[in-house]
Assembly symmetry: C2
Homo-oligomer: 420 residues x 2
């Protein structure tokens, strides 16, 4: 017997027919002797509908009331799944965020989970009842409804798994695992059996949209084993503990076999939602870099890649960096209003960030060199570079994104023998 958490997204909950199929899948885990908590999203489209109502009511809506409105979406699906489970003979009940409770901060619309009380939950699971828990929602210290921000249901699932000491947290998605890269770009991309939390964080944050970055960070902190699985496999699919999804685990769980088979690089990600800004001829003196990034930080804009060029002879330098494309207009406003003293501001949204990720690169020199050579051989110009312990990212012209991903996938030996 094991305790597991199963998490289903909006596509899996879109309509009663699909909710019934989720119930069947849950039933199989229960029949196998597991104690199961299910974390559900709202029906696909429902959260957008509710958010739209709030925006229409007031563009400057009160986030506390927004939370009351949008939390209703997951409340509905959790009740419906409990009904669908009972209908096939599986004892089940819903536990709303305030009922468990799932305590969060009072940062409405982007609350952070604190404690999850497990007294009632433990009793219910031990009694053999499936606990159906709406994702995305909690309750703050004043007893008001909170939500965790878009995509927060993954985080709810991992937090519940940590609280109930689950053996693993199965995240059912519309992909069947984490791939070495986007299979739409590289048909020979391979599904990864295991990735480490750190790799998944880098892959997620650079554009592999399988899991919320935040949920991976939480899983790493709480050591929750997360499995990414397809929700579209038929009823006769193998049980989740033998399914060929991708398991996201600590580095200690990457065993002998993995190491033998393992490539230097785990995956290649790309992200077209960046915008590049260059400030030309910024005074080259102490404090001038601070005068650029302090006001951006104050405006809540995340700066990613930063390149400071060699100083011009005239005592000035050019500074290039990237921000999320959606934040570009606001960034320009902030920069033009700040006291920086640049000569000219140039910006460009026709850029893409391509990253190679892998814990293996720690012990191998030459990963970055291979990347630069490979791209150079195809005439792809590198506009900026950032590196971390397990990642090298380059900024290139957007039109070359797919080409870059493809040649790097081959260069690092990631191509499978057959096309997917």
């Amino acid at each position: 017997m094991a305790r597991i958490v199963m998490k289903f997204g909006g596509t899996s909950m879109a309509g009663i027919e699909r909710i019934r199929s989720v119930a069947q899948r849950v039933k199989r885990e229960v029949a196998a002797g597991n104690q199961v908590a299910v974390v559900v999203s709202a029906m696909a489209g429902e959260t957008d509908r509710l958010v739209g109502f709030c925006r229409e009511a007031s563009p400057l809506y009160d986030p506390a009331e927004y939370d009351v409105v949008v939390a209703a979406g997951e409340q509905i699906t959790s009740g419906l799944l409990a009904i669908a489970l009972q209908a096939i003979g599986v004892p089940a009940r819903s536990w709303l965020g305030w009922q468990l409770p799932i305590a969060t901060s009072d940062a409405h619309s982007r609350a952070r989970i604190g404690d999850i009380d497990t007294v009632a939950l433990d009793a219910s699971l031990t009694a053999g009842h499936v606990a159906v828990i709406p994702g995305f929602q909690g309750v703050d210290p004043d007893g008001r409804v909170t939500t965790l921000g878009r995509g927060g249901s993954d985080t709810s699932a991992v937090a519940v798994a940590a609280a109930m000491k689950a053996e693993r947290c199965d995240i059912y998605t519309d992909v069947d695992g984490v791939y070495t890269t986007d299979p739409r770009i590289v048909p020979r991309a391979r599904k990864l059996g295991r990735v480490t939390y750190e790799e998944m964080l880098e892959l997620a944050s650079v554009g592999a949209k399988v899991l919320q970055t935040r949920s991976v960070g939480l899983a790493m902190k709480e050591k929750v084993r997360v499995q990414v699985l397809s929700s579209f496999t038929g009823d006769d699919a193998p049980m989740a503990d033998t399914l060929p999804g991708t398991m996201i685990v600590g580095e200690d769980e990457i065993g002998e076999n993995d190491t033998v088979e393992r490539q230097l690089i785990t995956g290649i990600a790309h992200d077209k939602n960046e915008a590049k800004i260059t400030l030309v001829s910024v005074p080259d003196r102490p404090g001038s870099v601070g005068s650029i990034f302090t006001p951006l930080a104050a405006a809540g804009i995340n700066v990613d890649m930063i390149v400071q060029n060699v100083a011009h002879s005239a005592g000035s330098t050019d500074v290039t960096f990237t921000v999320p494309a959606a934040d570009l207009p606001r960034s320009l406003e902030v920069l033009n209003g700040a006291d920086i003293g640049f000569e000219k501001l140039v910006h460009d949204t026709r850029v893409a960030k391509v990253s190679v990720v892998g814990v293996g690169m720690r012990s191998h020199a030459g990963v970055a060199a291979t990347m630069f050579e490979t791209l150079g051989a195809r005439g792809i110009n590198i506009q900026a570079i950032t590196t971390s312990e397990i990642k090298v990212s380059v900024l290139i012209e957007e039109d070359y994104t797919e080409l870059a991903v493809r040649v790097l996938h081959t260069a690092y030996g990631l191509d499978s023998e057959v096309a997917a």
Copy 2:
């Protein structure tokens, strides 16, 4: 300064444009110096949508989970109205059923309201905040979500008004008050300025669908003054305390002026949702009537009018009664399965109940006689009769309903001078 409750139905909450117009109306009451709680229904159609989901998930759904699902409808509108109020400068917050809390019994999907805690509500109202409260919902002793049954929002509004000792409870509906009869049948029907709780109960339960019967009963018990108003009056309409809606009050509030103007009969109601059942040749001995009605009661079927004919010479009698038309199939099943011993069962849904209602009839003989004569003069046959202290009801052939209502309206002097 007064405390008032304003209640808006699903039509008033159907879409953000209408919710904005509700907010404007609330603002005017606040600007007049009132402390206001607003009780809201779900958007028109939303409860049906959610109920449909539950039924589709399982025809035998768990009512506790049904409550979780359907309570979401009012949760959504309460958050949206709070946002719309804040947007026009009116401090407001939503209070969900479990937050106040509104304590109810654990009879899911048809719970009864117990206590409403007013500590937090009082503090919030005194601080000048409008309290937006979802109707229809509460929380049971185990902390689970409950709902009060369809149309329960009227009952929520009256219960909140009683708890906060409101001066009155304004129910905004799609009619502008209570009329002497259905104006679609009698264009010269008059709007009533005041009716007593008892009259309203009789009018509501015989088919004048303005207010939930249950809410009127609660208002009578708790002495809450209820006003029925139109929600479609424009922004320049007079304030609710001078609006020509209908006030539902205790008999002690029916003053001199009312008495002078007041007719013997307050209103005439009709109800086509009855079915007539006649059991022919039931043994005429002690206990035989019990053998008919006990099994019906056990099946939860409300029997309304009952007529026992004079015994036949052969020691048997005919018994005629009515049940809600929707319960007819189940009633026939119960009766055919019971040990009664009738010779034949005849049933008919082409009947209607027409009732004259008024506290004035207490002190006046001859009300029933006028009714029978008036109907007889038009050749309308009376199939059954029931009376209460303030009501006389007759069962007639359905086709004569409108004619009966019209001639009675004239006979009791209820016609106004001009057609509506």
